[in-house]
């Protein structure tokens, strides 16, 4: 079987096989300890119910339907929350010595990350589906058509960007208590966007900051793609689709590079 690794193209094949093996390990963990994943998947639904039925009545939005405003916001927020899961998994693996074991194993080193990506994207697809289904149950009706597919693509692209942030933070953190810090700090970051309220309702400079939030760009793009009215809040809002592509690309470029450096630093 060693001959496989020596065949032309064997390297790529191993990289793919190993990535699937690593992803399979994460999935096996979720199946064995589903509580964390299930709570993580249901929390956005709960949050959406709270905002649509309890708080949303007091928030004025373009188009008038807070529910239609909220669902795209929550879909993007699921992508942001995914960062915590990625970070937790990376910290836990490093703490338990799994990362060290991987480094000494005859496996493609890229698979440690690509496997993580596959597993986390799968979890995020489940999260998106759950929020979308809950939205549909609450009466949300996106415009059918290719826009929905594009919207899902942009959401997952944002997830990839946050995935790299999560990997970097996970490699940076020496102990799991930092995960808790990120879980707290993620809230101001989420509120400083157009997820819950239109940025036009914020003080001028804060509104501008919120409009430039990577999450906000995707939220606006998804709103447009699913037929939710969007108010004109400046350049960032007008070019939301462009930013919804650019932000994840920038996040990936920066944090993937930082993560690779950090990974190499493990052998220092």
């Amino acid at each position: 079987m060693t001959t496989v690794a020596r065949e032309p193209g064997g390297r790529l094949r191993w990289a793919v096989t190993d990535a699937l093996t690593v992803a399979g390990r994460d999935v096996a963990h979720w199946r064995r300890q589903p509580a964390g994943l299930v709570v993580g998947l249901l929390f956005p639904v709960l949050l959406m119910v709270v905002f649509v039925y309890l708080l949303g009545g007091g928030i004025a939005v373009p188009g008038g339907s807070y529910r239609d405003f909220m669902v795209p916001g929550m879909l993007a927020l699921v992508m942001l929350f995914g960062l915590e899961g990625t970070m937790t998994a990376v910290v836990t693996d490093t703490q338990r010595g799994v990362t060290d074991r991987f480094r000494a194993l005859p496996m493609a080193q890229s698979a440690v990350v690509t496997g993580r990506c596959l597993a986390d994207l799968a979890a995020s697809v489940a999260g998106l589906a759950l929020v979308a289904l809950a939205g549909l149950a609450m009466g949300w009706r996106p415009d059918p058509g290719p826009g929905v597919v594009t919207a899902v693509g942009l959401l997952l692209l944002l997830r990839v960007g946050f995935l790299w942030v999560g990997i970097w933070l996970g490699l940076l953190a020496r102990d799991p208590s930092l995960v808790a810090a990120v879980q707290i700090l993620i809230w101001p970051f989420a509120f400083l966007s157009n997820v819950f309220v239109p940025v036009s309702s914020m003080p001028g400079w804060l509104g501008t900051l919120a409009a430039w939030n990577p999450v906000a760009a995707t939220v606006t793009a998804v709103r447009e793609l699913t037929g939710v009215p969007v108010s004109d809040d400046g350049w960032a809002t007008e070019h939301a689709t462009l930013l919804a592509v650019a932000w994840p690309v920038v996040l990936t470029a920066v944090f993937a590079a930082l993560s690779v450096r950090r990974w190499q630093g493990l052998s220092r």
Partner: protein, 298 residues
């Protein structure tokens, strides 16, 4: 095309030894934790690196495993430089580190089945479980294992890929005496099958029992290398003769105890020399002197 990146190795290291190290240096913040180590491990032998905590054992082993970079020196492990060796090389070594590395919600069998996927020709899980004495715990979750069982799982993961060279970093720390004996039997079995073993330990009896040769590391330097019975060389030939004279304990350290005894017997024509003992230093005495006085023996 070959996926095996056999890195060029300096001619001085081109040798059939499993491990060849010349002038290895590793610094952390300017302080050398490994300070010029030369080391040869022959194929098929069990070599123990013995030394106190912080002596540089783990750092050395991690450099040989390819998971830590070195700051100086030449290293060849199974004929390749571990800093540049690829996947095929990693399939020829086995690593049992100090951290658990497998702590998770999966069962023992699931964990072994998972990691088997990375190896070209893994040992079948059933066989592996029997080898390390975990057959009865196969269905237990890893988190539910005792410390000793967890170490055995670690060892199983290390030998799973049928390595030619196995690194064991303090493998029996946390094991009870029974588990340690079982582990020794396991290592002996590996040696009988031709596996080269490089282990670190701070248990002297473990080194004496398992190792063909022992290297003593102190403050980042290898202060002696020898079979366990010959460690310490000159230190070992010195005997201590003790006896009681006029109610006081007397002792003489000498390389020629017989001469001292002759004098003593001559001084006691009546017969018995009270409290007479002659002792040679054991492994522990030799070790403590080697570690405590590295300058003297260098």
């Amino acid at each position: 095309m070959t996926a095996t990146q056999t890195a060029p190795v300096p001619p001085v290291l081109q040798h059939d030894d499993a491990v060849r190290v010349r002038g290895l240096v590793k610094r952390y913040g300017g302080r050398a934790v490994v300070d010029g180590i030369d080391l040869d491990v022959r194929r098929g032998e069990v070599f123990a690196l013995l030394g106190p905590n912080g002596a540089g054992k783990t750092t050395t082993v991690e450099i040989l495993e390819g998971v830590r970079r070195r700051d100086g020196g030449d290293v060849a492990v199974l004929g390749a430089d571990p800093a540049h060796a690829g996947r095929a090389w990693r399939d020829r070594i086995g690593v049992v580190g100090q951290s658990t590395g497998a702590g998770n919600a999966l069962t023992v069998r699931e964990t072994l089945d998972h990691f088997a996927r990375y190896h070209a020709t893994p040992v079948p899980t059933g066989e592996l479980l029997a080898d390390v004495g975990l057959a009865e715990a196969a269905r237990q979750r890893v988190t539910a294992l005792s410390g000793g069982q967890r170490r055995r799982l670690e060892v199983a993961l290390g030998v799973q890929g049928r390595p030619e060279l196995l690194f064991l970093d303090e493998p029996t720390t946390g094991m009870d005496p029974v588990a340690r004996r079982q582990f020794w039997t396991l290592v002996e079995g590996l040696r009988d099958r031709g596996t080269t073993v490089l282990l670190t330990t701070h248990y002297l009896d473990e080194a004496a029992h398992l190792a063909d040769r022992v290297g003593v590391i102190s403050a980042g330097r290898l202060v002696d290398v020898a079979p366990p019975a010959e460690l310490g060389g000159a230190l070992r030939s010195e005997a201590t003769v003790r006896w009681t004279e006029d109610g006081a304990l007397r002792s003489v350290v000498t390389a020629e105890p017989a001469a001292v005894l002759r004098d003593l017997l001559a001084a006691h024509p009546a017969g018995e020399v009270p409290g007479l003992t002659v002792t040679r230093p054991g492994l522990e005495d030799v070790y403590l002197r080697l570690v405590a006085l590295p300058e003297e023996t260098r």
